[in-house]
């Protein structure tokens, strides 16, 4: 008897063999292009987002796992990145995708603020978020209690909207990928300090960076565990792309980024939440270090630069792998090329279980629909690995 999508997902998280490889395309901007609406409409009009993503599912799907990622709430998007986001239709032309102003928002003194914080520990992460947001969004400065409550309500409303939205997917037997998402504290520092100053921090003040990221771990985990519980989806998407070897050495990853990340993952796993690490960029030299994360409890997403076949050999016995049809081929390639690569992924990375087929990171907005369809159809077409 065929597994349900949720059973398939739970099976691969445990690195076991499902009846076939599940597929989970990361679609948001593509939905706007495919459905013929602007990106501005996608993120600002919930009904249009639903129409667009459902059109993708009905015409290019079905798929197993709904990758719920659309940045439909400016508050939560900026709160998770701690960067100024430029929105289409507001700061950018209506049909462009969101982009980020990367400049020095956090200063070295902000590490000290985190370390010297004396308030209730569970509030630390939220206070850090408000304090950082206030640096580029004046409305967050010295917020009164009613204003804070209004902000929390905006976040809560967004999560309520997502919960209602999930029903459509569950009625179709589609599993939901995550109940919450955010950059990890170390990676947030990189974004908020901006790349060059943060890279110099890793040389000039590594102990401070490590201590500050570690100090945020517990309250970060607590916030997102609660969001996941509220959403009824006990999996959390943690973005860690600034911990890739494109930005840091394996030594820096091991000594500075990994310890707080490991603590966050362990806290999540203890609370019954699956960490999903979104590992953009090249992680080849970090792969073995990922063995320090809880075994058979995590999903590791790769987007193309990492050799996912090597990852299968080095960590495939411990972690569920996710990926990695690359953006270039989805745009410039052909359905047969996509199918060929997906088949290889299914056979080699899917062997023995522990694999979810997906695009490496998001399906590009200008991907050819026939290529996206070829990717989504591949697991059903090819079946379980031979």
């Amino acid at each position: 008897m065929a597994m349900t999508s949720e059973e398939r997902l739970q099976t691969v998280i445990k690195c076991e063999k499902p009846d076939r490889v599940p597929v989970s395309p990361m679609i948001y901007y593509f939905a706007a292009y495919y459905a013929g609406i602007t990106v501005h409409e996608l993120w600002s009009d919930w009904k249009k987002y639903e129409m667009a993503i459902q059109k993708c599912y009905n015409e290019l799907g079905p798929w197993d796992i709904y990758y719920n990622i659309c940045p439909t709430s400016p508050e939560t998007y900026q709160a998770s990145l701690l960067m100024k986001v430029r929105y289409p239709g507001v700061d950018l032309p209506a049909d462009e995708i969101c982009q980020f102003d990367e400049y020095e928002i956090m200063t070295p003194e902000d590490y000290d603020w985190i370390l010297d914080y004396q308030g209730p520990e569970f509030m630390l992460y939220s206070e850090h978020v408000f304090r950082t947001l206030a640096k580029f969004m004046p409305e967050y400065k010295n917020m009164s209690v009613p204003e804070r409550l209004k902000f929390y309500w905006a976040i809560t409303q967004m999560y309520l909207v997502w919960r209602r939205h999930f029903r459509w997917w569950k009625e179709r037997g589609v599993a939901i990928l995550s109940g919450s998402s955010s950059e990890s504290p170390f990676d947030q520092f990189s974004m908020s300090r901006s790349m060059e100053p943060f890279s110099l921090d890793l040389i000039d003040r590594p102990e401070k960076v490590k201590a500050a990221a570690a100090r945020l771990s517990k309250s970060f985990a607590l916030v997102h565990i609660n969001f996941c519980r509220f959403e009824g989806v006990k999996r959390m998407l943690i973005f860690v792309h600034r911990s890739s070897n494109d930005f840091v050495s394996p030594k820096m990853f091991e000594e500075i980024s990994l310890p707080p990340l490991r603590e966050i993952c362990e806290l999540m796993v203890d609370a019954g939440v699956t960490p999903i690490l979104h590992c953009d960029g090249n992680w080849d030299k970090n792969l073995k270090l990922l063995r320090k994360l809880p075994a058979k409890k995590c999903i590791i997403q790769f987007d193309g630069p990492t050799n996912i076949f090597r990852a299968k050999q080095e960590i495939g016995d411990m972690h569920c792998l996710f990926g990695d049809v690359n953006a270039y081929d989805l745009v410039m390639g052909s359905p047969s090329k996509i199918d060929e690569y997906c088949h290889r992924l299914i056979e080699e990375v899917g062997r023995g279980g522990g694999f979810i087929l997906a695009a490496g990171c998001e399906v590009p907005p200008n991907a050819k629909p026939e290529n996206v369809k070829a990717m989504i159809e591949a697991p059903r077409k090819h079946g379980a690995p031979s």
Binding site: E96, Q99, L200, I203, A327
Partner: protein, 210 residues
């Protein structure tokens, strides 16, 4: 000189600056300090980066040390009319605000003795054309991080052709979604996987070997 190379390679900015001043005080030629210490140090840093032994933070501290040492030499170069190796215009293409890759390329080129004209981000074809006319660079470097914006590279090459300046300048491109076949398809001269490849290509251009 060896000591200065080591300081730059290790990212010891204060020590590099002090050593540069000492060498100048001992009547070592500024050009010699640049060619025999600073640039070779950065070359070595670039090689270590390509080998995967140095990463972005190590490169940036070395570049910081080089910059501080170079700041000591610049007035001397200006006084003597010594020119950089060549000029390169860099920019992230229209509609794209990502600048990390572009900044790393600029840093690698400056470390090799090039003068870099950085047009910033969201640079349309017209701005690249204007920069080629104004600055007469040996090459332009275009960066893109999105599959939607990389198409602007093709538009820029077309604009260079329309303006009659395509033949005056080499075009190098790079960025996460870029491939060599894309460079060939749009008529770019070079695709670089990283900042060191861009630097090496610029050197070939100056030596008329590109």
């Amino acid at each position: 000189m060896e000591q200065l190379r080591k300081f730059v390679k290790a990212g010891k900015a204060k020590e590099a600056e002090a050593r540069t001043r000492e060498l100048l005080a001992k009547k070592t030629e500024a050009e010699v300090i640049l060619q025999e210490a600073l640039i070779p140090a950065m070359d070595e840093v670039g090689d270590l980066f390509q080998k995967g032994e140095y990463f972005v933070p190590e490169m940036l501290v070395a570049a910081r040390a080089m910059k501080q040492a170079l700041a000591v030499l610049r007035p001397v170069f200006k006084e003597r009319g010594i020119k950089p190796l060549g000029k390169v215009v860099v920019g992230t293409v229209k509609g794209d605000l990502h600048d990390i890759g572009k900044n790393l390329v600029a840093m690698a080129l400056e470390g090799a003795g090039f003068e870099v004209v950085d047009l910033g981000v969201d640079v349309g074809p017209d701005k690249f054309v204007a920069a080629v006319k104004d600055h007469k660079p040996i090459a332009i470097g275009m960066s893109a991080l999105l599959t939607t914006t990389m198409m602007s590279m093709k538009d820029t090459i077309a604009a260079l052709k329309s303006a009659g300046v395509r033949g005056q300048v080499k075009v190098m491109i790079g960025g996460a979604p870029i491939r060599r076949e894309f460079a060939d398809e749009i008529g770019a001269d070079f695709y670089g996987r990283d900042s060191v490849e861009a630097r090496n290509y610029a050197r070939l251009v100056v030596q008329n070997e590109a």
